[in-house]
Symmetry: C2
Subunit: 426 residues, 2 copies
């Protein structure tokens, strides 16, 4: 369902008994948003404010499910990633924050505004810039960083998974505070930059005084199509990015690589995953002075086809042990793919490019990769990164400038709220 | 025509006599790109490298015509705007720069790469990240700033139009050097961020040592659609932006507002226009705390419909002289629309939003408007800006951080090159 183009002033609409039950099903979450009772909920949000996925909406990703959206969801064209500082001082307030966010996320993922208005003497509930756009496959993914569990006043220390900790320093890291860390992350992805930004803006606004923005980064993907089917997008180095990902429809494989299984971690993380974000500057000027052969030897793939060196097709297996008749590795030993593969660890990459502005007076592009990966344990990423280490030929062309690691909650059941398992654990 | 997905290594293809003539028609421009003769041109670029608009290409904007593309062209979803410093030391070198850029712009607007490669021991001619994407309605607009004419070694002083000068200081301007001025601008717009960026990157790269980047800014527009037709996009204040523009298909009106007419300026500008760019930060946090009524009084329009205050529909005429029964203006006298209209000057706006990152440690959004307008004389913009002056209610919510004014050449005829009229003037 697209947003109506009619006058926004609320027309109280008749609500069926069934819809009423759906709304009241939200319980505390619905009422938390400034409404003082049942009538308030209805008046504030109108009939569109149902506490469930709108199956009639177009370009719609479901909010509710076994896992959060934005992980196994087909990667969209745009991201607005926000890392937040938490300002609340108790576990209860933090719980209420996620309860309050739940119906807003449902609404926005349904392609609706988060509130209509009948009183123009107050600020509109919804900032409005996504009005008239449909859901555009919006997904919203929530995670919590290690620093959240270190805030004594929140009393979460005993619930911190041991694998949730700041990443170790990797060779050539030049992390900047301005793009590192965070208590909470919101990853909003959509097939539209304004819809993604709108989602983050409205969630943060609704949490005014409870969170502040620590850093944010937008990004994009451009998909070539073939017979109407999206192909693997190219990064700004012109190489295809994400080829080696697990097949998101293969549940067994996703359970192996991405989803935390019962017993793997703290119980509240079962069905969740760990998000790692790295803001990686790409030195395009240097790259562009490099021969094609060197570029291909750097990635270990052919630029045009995306095939591993010595193979023909993008999805041909990377067989790093293969040698030529002289006994030399066909995929160079210092290539990104060789070293990553050698780690014998897998992750699910879900990255975006960024490019706007220049870094400094020398006119260097402020451009690069919002690298995002999901894995059931950050150790998977760490293993790969350690294998790349100082050897990775790609190091010459990139600098890691930002970093974050976040525990993403499992999926949300209807009637529940984001992160419930964390708050319900004694 | 989309880029081929075949192996990029050049397969020399048979070229018809007609195609040959088209290629040789490029004359100096084609040959300037490192090729040493006719054979070189063919070998370097293959059969796709025709010196004209490819009428079979999909999502294609024409390069050649009476006016440059990207002005009357239907506004796209993405922009990458670059302001450049010129490093060359003679008029001839500057002329060669624009000659060299011409066929590259033609190629990219045809949705092609700017060169195939058969030798992988050298850097590929094309940076490659747009491979597999079609033209995506790419437009490329070239302009020259006042500072270009002040470079004595270029000998252009006598050709400077008197109206091409830095804009005066406006109340509340807080311009930053990092986003102001420039000798040349390249405005690349496309329905894809990677295609727009690719165009600028390849033009700058091909001009290595001849130009450097002074500043750049990317932006986006999100179009609601109605019955499959694009509607006016909303800015990040949620108001529709660009409603009052002249109808680009009304040549008479465009000649009145946008296109420099014979006798208006220096002869080389006939058919051209002036581009004004302003990087305007929007203080979203302040805006979001403002009542709907105040927001609407600030713009002088209704947020939802886009109609002028007191009217119903977006395209209803703004009649600022209308008063209510008490003799008060219906559209508030301090509203943006009232003051802009009062200037009795018109411009063609073609703006984009931006949002990524935060401005400082307080967590304020780095978001706003890449305001771009075209007018036959910068005075039109200046009149409006002076009328807004200190009165404009919108001043509370915005800060102008960057600025540029550029003389955009007239359109390019087949066989000619960008800016020829400037260089052919004695």
């Amino acid at each position: 369902m697209t947003k109506t183009n009619n006058d926004e002033k609320l027309i109280d609409k008749k609500i069926t008994r069934r819809q009423m039950l759906k709304i009241t099903g939200a319980g505390a979450a619905g009422i938390a948003i400034g409404a003082t009772g049942m009538g308030g909920v209805l008046k504030a949000f109108g009939k569109d404010f149902l506490q469930e996925d709108d199956t009639t909406a177009t370009n719609k990703v479901n909010f509710y499910g076994k896992h959060q959206s934005g992980i196994a969801t087909a990667v969209q064209t745009n991201i607005y990633f926000a890392s937040l500082n938490v300002l609340v001082k108790s576990k209860k307030e933090l719980q209420e924050l996620f309860q309050m966010w739940t119906p807003l996320a449902v609404q926005m993922m349904n392609g609706n505004m988060i509130g209509e208005y009948k009183n123009d003497m107050i600020p509109p509930k919804d900032t409005g810039e996504a009005k008239g756009l449909d859901a555009r496959n919006l997904s919203i993914t929530f995670g919590v960083g290690p620093s959240l569990f270190e805030k004594k006043e929140l009393g979460l220390a005993s619930l911190k998974p041991k694998e949730l900790k700041d990443l170790p320093h990797f060779p050539k890291d030049q992390l900047e505070d301005a793009y590192t860390g965070g208590d909470i992350c919101i990853q909003a992805c959509a097939d539209d930059p304004q819809v993604a930004f709108h989602a983050v803006r409205n969630l943060i606004r609704a949490a005014s005084g409870k969170v502040s923005m620590r850093w944010s980064q937008s990004g994009f993907n451009s998909f070539p199509t073939k017979n109407g089917k999206k192909q693997t997008p190219r990064n700004l180095f012109a190489f295809k990015d994400g080829t080696e990902n697990p097949n998101t429809s293969d549940e067994k494989d996703m359970n192996k690589v991405v989803w935390v299984q019962s017993g793997d971690s703290k119980p509240w993380m079962t069905g969740g995953t760990y998000l790692i974000v790295r803001r990686i500057q790409t030195h395009l000027e240097t790259w562009d002075r490099t021969s094609l052969k060197e570029q291909e030897n750097t990635f270990g793939r052919h630029r045009d086809s995306g095939a591993p060196i010595g193979k023909k097709n993008e999805f041909d297996a990377v067989e790093i042990e293969r040698k030529d008749e002289n006994g030399n590795y066909i995929v160079p030993e210092t290539s990104h793919v060789f070293l990553a593969k050698q780690a014998k660890a897998r992750i699910m990459r879900r990255s975006f490019s960024y490019s706007s502005g220049i870094v400094d007076a020398t006119g260097t592009y402020d451009a690069g990769l919002v690298f995002i990966s999901f894995q059931k344990n950050p150790e998977q990423f760490i293993k790969i990164q350690n294998s790349l280490g100082r050897l990775d030929k790609l190091n010459e062309y990139i600098t890691h400038r930002g970093s974050g690691v976040f525990a993403c909650f499992p999926g949300i059941k209807k009637g529940s709220y984001i992160g419930e398992a964390l708050f319900n654990t004694l």
